[in-house]
């Protein structure tokens, strides 16, 4: 059954350029979807629509039966966004404050907030940093902190906008490992990227966007050889005939 349903979604930027052009799409619960495309193809715009950050026409987007813009509050709780730049997303002065920010907005009791903060930090392995200042964490740890902030809101759908940008090898491994664990824990994962190498072997589905339109939507194996015509680099293993090799191996 579809968890996310998007029907004929079109978006124009204030300068009249096309952001999204007649997007229709459905994503099932627990699916691992990679949305790829070159810069300016509309990936981030699509992400922001899923979280209700960009106003939409009525009945274009439904998530778990909730509709935008009517149920924007509940949808924001359900869909957790991890932005491209973790530094810009962090609002708390300590790791605790950062993770507690979402639950505090939900007006939960302090006891429940503390419980959720501890659980989320344990899930991402940052519990020992509870009182650390977020800006002293490494790039990978910051990204994990942002994920913990989203998990503390009990989000079931996690949207990652370029989750590996500006990360070194260890940071990338750390974040990818975390994403896979969350997928195993039955979260729906949507990763937006222009670089397929790291995630495509784990994905159930690959969507390619070009100039705001979905130009391919299929299992990764089926369309991986076509990606270069849309300005996306085909993974080396696929190019050399080894198929899609898991990056963490």
């Amino acid at each position: 059954m579809s968890q996310i349903k998007i029907k004929q979604l079109t978006y124009q930027f204030p300068d009249q350029s096309i952001g999204l052009d007649d997007i229709s799409l459905s994503i099932t619960k627990g699916e691992f979807v990679v949305i790829a495309g070159p810069n300016g193809s509309g990936k981030t715009t699509l992400c922001r629509h899923l979280n209700g950050l960009i106003p939409v026409k009525k009945n274009c987007i439904a998530i778990n039966g909730l509709k935008l813009p009517k149920d924007v509050g509940k949808i924001r709780q359900l869909v957790g966004m991890v932005f491209q730049n973790a530094d810009h997303q962090i609002v708390g002065q300590t790791v605790y404050d950062e993770v507690a920010f979402g639950p505090e907005n939900l007006k939960l009791s302090r006891k429940e907030i503390d419980h959720r903060v501890v659980q989320s930090l344990k899930t991402v392995g940052l519990f020992e940093y509870l009182e650390r200042r977020p800006h002293t964490l490494s790039g990978g740890e910051k990204r994990k902190l942002v994920i913990a902030g989203v998990l503390a809101m009990n989000s079931k759908i996690l949207v990652f906008d370029e989750p590996f940008s500006n990360l070194d090898y260890l940071g990338t491994k750390m974040v990818l490992d975390q994403i896979l664990k969350l997928h195993q824990a039955e979260h729906t994962i949507i990763i937006v990227t222009h670089e397929l190498e790291k995630t495509i072997a784990y994905a159930d589905r690959l969507l390619i966007l070009e100039k705001g339109k979905i130009v391919r939507d299929d299992q990764p194996d089926a369309i991986i050889h076509e990606v270069e015509q849309f300005g996306i680099r085909e993974p080396y293993s696929s190019k050399t005939g080894q198929g899609l090799v898991k990056w963490l191996n």
């Binding site: 922001r48 979280n51 950050l53 509050g73 924001r76 709780q77 957790g80 966004m81 932005f83 730049n85 530094d87 810009h88 997303q89 609002v91 708390g92 002065q93 300590t94 404050d97 920010f101 979402g102 639950p103 505090e104 907005n105 939900l106 007006k107 939960l108 009791s109 302090r110 907030i113 009182e131 650390r132 200042r133 800006h135 002293t136 902030g149 989203v150 809101m153």
Partner: protein, 258 residues
């Protein structure tokens, strides 16, 4: 962003970190009000406990002073401009007098003390606590939207280190491209301010989006403010010390008058 700035919170376990933020605000406000009008005796009496607290809570003083160096240059400028007088009849001859020097050093000392108190406050107080305290105090003022005001203060404080960091990044990037060779100050200010403001606005927009994506609302669970015996003791001791300082200074000035 890993670089630290002076006006950042440092998590710690000192008594200052644990002191109820409402009491901390009262103490800092009182200290600053007295400092503004303080003379040498009072300044010495006020500086002594401030220095003790700085070493006790391990405030990174050297780093903080380096970060606030432009303010220190400003103090030096105040000192020189109030001390040195140019003789109109002979402009090459610079005059100075000891009373002026004493007067201007006192002004600089006052401002420096206020800076140290501010550093201690920011070092030991989370933005969320400051917001909660402001909200708590404004609650007593009728017709004031306390949640909105405390939110604005919180965001403003949240932004200060980011703005300083952005300014440092831009400054370094421009130095790397030999901005020093451009002598026109208007060009230099424009070249610095334009990207700075653009980046600040962009970042503000991203932060707003990030906050909204996590269901941000004014009506959220606030921090629980609790005052215990230690908080009351610290408040009473500090205020008593300040009263003693004022009384002692009054007595000393009366004695010197006699």
């Amino acid at each position: 962003m890993a670089e630290l700035t002076a006006f950042n919170y440092f998590s710690g376990n000192s008594w200052l970190h644990h002191l109820d933020i409402r009491f901390k605000l009262i103490i800092i406000f009182t200290f600053n009000v007295i400092s503004i009008q303080a003379n040498y005796v009072e300044l010495m009496m006020l500086s002594f406990p401030v220095l003790i607290v700085i070493f006790q809570v391990k405030l990174p003083l050297r780093h903080s002073l380096f970060e606030t160096r432009y303010f220190l240059y400003f103090l030096l400028f105040i000192f020189l401009s109030r001390t040195i007088k140019i003789d109109v009849t002979n402009p090459t001859y610079l005059n100075y007098s000891y009373p002026d020097m004493i007067e201007s050093s006192m002004i600089c000392w006052r401002l420096f003390l206020i800076l140290l108190i501010g550093l201690l406050f920011m070092f030991s107080s989370k933005i969320t606590e400051i917001r909660a305290a402001v909200q708590w105090y404004l609650n007593f003022v009728p017709f004031v939207p306390e949640k909105k005001i405390s939110l604005m203060i919180g965001l403003m404080i949240r932004f200060v280190p980011d703005i300083l960091q952005q300014a440092a990044d831009i400054s370094e990037a421009q130095k790397a491209r030999s901005i020093g060779k451009r002598k026109n100050p208007v060009f230099r200010i424009t070249a610095f301010a334009t990207p700075l403001f653009l980046r600040i606005f962009e970042q503000a927009d991203t932060i707003v989006q990030a906050m909204l994506s996590r269901c941000f609302t004014e009506n959220r669970t606030d921090i629980e403010l609790k005052a215990d015996k230690v908080d009351w003791m610290v408040l009473i001791v500090t205020l008593s010390y300040l009263v003693v300082t004022i009384v002692l200074d009054t007595l000393l000035s009366q004695m010197s008058f006699l």
